[in-house]
């Protein structure tokens, strides 16, 4: 809604990634987005498995036209990125071939 801030799943695996905390208050595994309606997920394909790299509110002004997180090629270096615009939508990712 217009009054409620967007809530996104939050998980950061790379310890160099301090910047995402600035995107909004984190409580457990949920972040309350300060300046965006977009949630973001970055997965990495390791040995054929999708593993979480980063889940957070968007920090870098990505587009998020979809309600669910649909990752589309090209995938760079086995990283899979998607954005979405509903609460906690970045918990699940769907890959289109």
């Amino acid at each position: 809604s217009l009054l409620q801030k967007r809530r996104c799943a939050f998980q950061v695996t790379n310890i160099r990634n301090h910047g995402y905390s600035a995107a909004g208050n984190v409580s457990g595994s949920v972040q309350l987005c300060e300046n965006t309606d977009c949630c973001m997920a970055i997965y990495r394909i390791i040995n054929g498995q999708l593993e979480v790299d980063t889940l957070a509110c968007d920090r870098v002004k990505m587009l998020c036209p979809h309600e669910t997180c649909k990752a589309q090629p090209p995938f760079i270096d086995n990283f899979v990125t998607c954005t979405c615009s509903t609460d906690l939508c970045n918990r699940n990712i769907s890959l289109s071939p």
Binding site: T13, N14, G19, D53, V60, K61, L63, P74, F79, T81
Partner: protein, 112 residues
């Protein structure tokens, strides 16, 4: 001062296209970073004629020189003079990370 003198030396007033200035330019970053997919990096465009936009002595004298007929010389060009950084998502073997890239977004233009 030097520009004032040269302006006085010119015979005809300039009646060209848009003068050098900042405009929007959206560039795809898809193969370079994990995000954003694209960004407005701006660009500088437009003509550089006396009086020059943000000119310096070299640019003013170069304009004067080329306007006097040396058409083979590179004339002044409208280019960015100052930039803002842009935050992007880069990656290495340990995973993705937020990073601020310098000199990404043009924020001021001038003739050089």
């Amino acid at each position: 001062n030097m520009q004032r003198k040269l302006r006085a030396a010119r015979a005809d007033p300039s009646t060209r296209g848009p003068i050098c200035g900042l405009g929007s330019l959206t560039v795809s970053l898809e193969k370079l970073v994990l995000g954003p997919q694209s960004a407005d990096l701006n660009n500088c465009r437009g003509s550089c004629a006396i009086p020059l936009i943000n000119g310096n002595n070299h640019a003013v004298l170069l304009t004067y020189h080329t306007e006097q007929g040396d058409v083979n010389e590179r004339g002044p060009c409208c280019v960015p003079l100052a930039y803002d950084p842009l935050e992007v998502i880069d990656w290495n073997d340990e995973g993705s990370f937020l990073t601020s890239k310098p000199d990404m977004v043009a924020k001021e233009c001038g003739c050089r």
